[in-house]
């Protein structure tokens, strides 16, 4: 059974890039869902369950931090924050709010795979 992934990013091109990285990575992906922002991501989560969420920081309507905070009220799906360089201070905030890992853009498919494996693995351990 492959991994179900929810991708949250306001840029359609970015989602495509990440999807491509996911396909290139050595991961058995089953389904990749997409959301434009935190608000949409919450709606997706309310309807479907996924194995892991990859979430951008800076988005209109509901940004990454708010999303993590809201999602954690009812959901324990692992979340990997996709940051860009220069926002490390925010990583701390996101982790504090309940994110499970982060990855700095741009990343290689290998990095992406490693980050996902690490988080999923950590999750299994915790469970």
């Amino acid at each position: 059974m492959g991994i179900k992934i929810l991708l949250v990013d306001d840029s359609a091109v970015m989602r495509k890039m990440i999807t491509r990285s996911l396909r290139q990575a050595n991961l058995d992906t089953d389904e990749i869902l997409e959301a434009n922002n935190g608000q949409e991501a919450l709606e997706v989560l309310a309807a479907k369950s996924v194995d892991i969420i990859l979430c951008d920081w800076n988005m209109p309507v509901m940004d990454g931090l708010e999303f993590v905070t809201k999602a954690r009220e009812s959901d324990t799906t692992p979340i990997v924050m996709l940051t860009t360089e220069g926002t490390q201070d925010k990583v701390t905030m996101a982790m504090g709010a309940g994110a499970n890992g982060y990855l700095t853009k741009p990343f290689t498919p290998e990095n992406l795979e490693a980050a996902i494996r690490q988080v999923l693995f950590a999750d299994e351990n915790a469970a």
Partner: protein, 610 residues
């Protein structure tokens, strides 16, 4: 944090061009990125211009930040290094505003606008435009970093430097602390300090917080315009085919109720389909207006004039193809208004006007057309100056009886080829295009341009454009046994042919006296290569006007008015003089749409005035 991406601009040769990796052009996401990035930059520009009125508005700074941030992210994946450097430096500067609470006043906004321009040229290069110079980009990036670095003193010192609206900036800057927090309403349990923002902004200087929320439009997808155009064309064909079925005489003989009902149903659906497919191509004026806002700013600052620009009608929608085509004429008209209309500050003050000039753009719908008005409160057009110029340029003969010319006629002289009111050709409006080109462009869109001007008070240029290029409002006339469509916009009046008023002149042909002026009468039977069949009884005259020429067309009957879908005549006929295209009428018959301008040219009509 900013330093890591900063490079030394001096490592580049002055002429070195930006070179993106070769394989980028094969990347299938590239065109999407170009579209998306352009959208981001447009949005950023809009927000920057709004910031000038509202330099503390956090939402606006966030919007600009996000634009560069997103571009940087994708550019990183695509390994577009120069783009990353530029986006990063802009983003870092914007982040400084957020962190320090400094006003992003017009001076600072200028730097970021420059970054927008540079980014636009980089994006353009991805889309096949010439490469920008590398050093310039990196110089700009370095400058942005420097500006960001300067934002460290307390905001009190800043207000003098920017000249922004920060009237009584607080000496005890409480603002920065409050502003370091993330924006937007946040859950308090997010462990960080209590973001309660007590009196972080003194009431005197804090602009009222306006919460603009974009209209909820639901999710959207991007579709290539070519596919869209094709769809609209196909629907046009469908409408015609449907009408042909509806009017088929054999089917009409059936007199079958059920069939009629079904046919009515099909007609209704076809009409709805046509309407909604047309609406797909409609776009709001917003981005055009935004570009004009930017233009006013640039032109005003370059010409050293202070100009306030206001625009209404952002939501006015018109055909995308029209929007694209009016860009240049609008640019030219606005440059014109600022360059020639708005007086220098001293002069304005001397004549008792506000020092700041005003240029206003209004876009609105009225009776099936789009109107765009450009209004300035400048010096207006001088009757004598125009006449003198027109005579010196040989546009009108020196012995013209100018006293008899109506003001409107005189004003229209500025649209004549070779006329340009600029006494000094400035860098800004001296682009070699005159108002004649503007008019030609507008008329090519089947639009009209009008001027009203009052000396000393200002001028108003009014463009009237069709909502769409695919449909035309036409008057259907019958000449002999043939029907023609005359575009309604060109028609001045229709009248019964009154024998008493008709003058037969040996040399100039037939004329008719219309309220004191002689207007030539033309018969398509004689004059047009695509002549109608049958004899014309010429009982009715349709007076038309195009490009300042007037003429009456003799017809047998005005059959009615109708919107028709324009069909191109196809390659076989090509551009036939006098014809704008074909249309299929309600009864399934084909009618030619007359192109009055080229028709009159073909007929070599002498100027019908005087």
């Amino acid at each position: 944090m900013a330093e890591s991406k900063q490079s030394d601009p001096n490592q580049f040769e002055p002429d070195e061009l930006v070179a993106f990796p070769d394989d980028i052009y094969e990347d299938e996401t590239l065109s999407e990125f170009v579209t998306e990035a352009r959208g981001h930059i447009e949005d950023a520009e809009g927000a920057l211009l709004e910031l000038e009125n509202d330099p503390y508005e956090r939402d606006l700074i966030d919007r600009v930040f996000r634009a560069f941030h997103t571009i940087k992210g994708v550019a990183g994946f695509l390994q577009l290094e120069d783009m990353v450097v530029l986006a990063h430096s802009a983003e870092a500067l914007l982040d400084r505003f957020r962190q320090t609470g400094f006003a992003c006043g017009s001076e600072q906004a200028s730097h970021v606008l420059e970054a927008c321009d540079a980014m636009t040229s980089l994006i353009g290069h991805l889309a096949g435009d010439p490469a920008p110079k590398r050093k310039q980009l990196h110089d700009l990036a370095a400058r942005l970093a420097r500006v960001a670095g300067e934002l460290t003193e307390d905001p009190g010192a800043d207000s003098s430097a920017t000249g922004a609206t920060a009237g009584g900036a607080p000496a005890s800057a409480p603002e920065p602390e409050a502003e370091v927090e993330e924006p937007a309403p946040r859950e308090p349990e997010a462990e960080a300090g209590p973001p309660e923002q007590p009196e972080s902004k003194p009431a005197s200087e804090a602009p009222p917080k306006r919460r603009r929320r974009a209209k909820a439009t639901g999710p959207s997808i991007q579709v290539g315009t070519r596919r869209l155009d094709r769809l609209v064309d196909m629907v046009g064909e469908l409408v015609i085919a449907q009408q042909m079925v509806a009017q088929d005489p054999h089917l009409a003989k059936l007199r079958n109720d059920q069939f009629e009902r079904k046919l009515a149903q099909v007609s209704k659906i076809t009409r709805d389909l046509q309407e909604s497919s047309m609406s797909l191509r409609m776009v709001a004026m917003k981005s055009t207006i935004q570009k004009m806002t930017r233009l006013v700013r640039d032109v005003a600052s370059r010409s050293g004039k202070s100009v306030e620009f206001s625009a209404t009608g952002e939501d006015t929608e018109l055909d995308r193809n029209v929007v694209e085509a009016i860009g240049d004429p609008l640019v030219h008209m606005i440059r014109n208004s600022i360059d020639h209309g708005i007086e220098p500050e001293e002069e304005r003050v001397r004549v008792g006007k506000p020092a700041r000039g005003r240029v206003e753009l209004r876009a609105y719908h009225r009776s099936g057309s789009i109107f765009i008005e450009i209004r300035d409160d400048g010096r207006g057009l001088k009757r004598e100056a125009i006449l003198a110029k027109a005579i010196s340029k040989g546009i009108i003969p020196p012995d013209s009886s100018v006293e008899e010319m109506a003001d409107a006629e005189i004003l229209k002289l500025i649209f004549q080829p070779g006329f340009s009111t600029a006494s000094t050709v400035t860098e800004i409006s001296g682009r070699g295009v005159g108002m004649d080109v503007v008019r030609r462009n507008i008329e090519a869109l089947r639009g009209k341009i009008d001027i009203q001007s009052e000396e000393g008070k200002g001028s108003v240029f009014t463009l009237r454009l069709p909502l769409t290029l695919a449909i035309i409002d036409g008057m259907i006339v019958r000449i002999g046994e043939t029907q023609f469509v005359i575009p309604t916009l060109t028609i001045e009046q229709t009248m019964r042919l009154d024998e008493h008023k008709r003058h037969k002149l040996m040399v100039e042909g037939e004329m008719i006296n219309v309220r004191g002026s002689l207007v030539p009468i033309h018969r398509l039977t004689q004059d047009l290569s695509v002549a109608p069949q049958g004899e014309c009884q010429d009982t009715t005259l349709v007076q038309v006007e195009a490009n300042d020429r007037r003429a009456c067309l003799a017809v047998d009957e005005v059959v009615g008015q109708q919107q028709v879908v324009i069909k191109s005549l196809g390659k076989a006929l090509g551009r036939t003089n006098g014809l704008a295209g074909g249309a299929i009428l309600g009864d399934g018959r084909v009618a030619m749409i007359l192109d009055i301008d080229s028709l009159l040219t073909a007929l070599e009509t002498p100027l019908a005035t005087v």
